[in-house]
Subunit: 147 residues, 2 copies
């Protein structure tokens, strides 16, 4: 998660909402990325999708079985749906998101009975650090807007 | 929906699971696309995401308020989450998907209480035609595999 936090800090430095993610398989970090929604003008540029793109480019495949996705904020419903579709084995997140989270915050998509793939989910890992980087970012944005 | 069905037929001709989508604003078709998962080796190449990419490139913005997305099969949870994030005003789908649909099939994400944007949803539009193009595709795949 500390590696994902480093990505979140890169996002903050670029003026993006600071969320970072990495993908790990067999103890090796295979891809790392951060939120790029502003840079790409795209809702699909969440950190999780950016990691997916890097992995898909490496593998030439869309199946991510055996991979764990670490992300500093609970994946939204779009990203959770993607992680299920892509068959990630495990999702580990930092700060929970009761308003929009798809891994137990607003809804728990991996626990839906009908779906064909159920990633294991672990939340609240280094949640305080993951929260602080987001709080600090918005505090700076507000301070700048007041000037 | 007939325009989206035409896109689904293009997908079938390319060996992709035949799902097609279009985006409409003020009665004008602004983008059209079909499923490209096989061609792109990407779970994020569902028809809905391909339409999103085209719209985002046109608009240089991620907000799709005022747009209706027509798609031949009920959007999965990933795509429904994206349509909510991107603030589409309305989702119209053909064939429902009880196993994986995010618009009332497996779960109804637009009706989740906590979320900030609630697109209007209409389902079962030309469902029989939308179903037939998928059934015919898999019948051809199975017939080919038997040879």
């Amino acid at each position: 998660m500390r590696e994902a936090l480093r990505e979140a800090e890169l996002a903050a430095a670029e003026g993006e909402v600071p969320v970072g993610a990495i993908a790990v398989k067999d103890g090796v970090v295979c891809a790392r990325a951060h939120n790029l929604v502003e840079a790409r003008h795209s809702v699909s540029a969440h950190a999780e999708f950016e990691v997916l793109r890097r992995l898909e480019a490496q593998l030439g495949d869309w199946r991510m079985t055996g991979y764990t996705l670490y992300v500093t904020k609970e994946p939204c419903m779009m990203c959770t749906g993607m992680l299920i579709n892509a068959r990630f084995s495990r999702i580990v997140f930092g700060l929970g998101d009761p308003a929009g989270g798809g891994c137990g915050g607003a809804v728990s998509l991996p626990e839906m009975p009908g779906i064909l793939w159920h990633p294991e989910v672990t939340g609240n890992v280094l949640a305080e650090e993951c929260s602080r980087v987001i709080r600090d970012f918005f505090a700076r944005v507000r301070a700048r807007e007041k000037k």
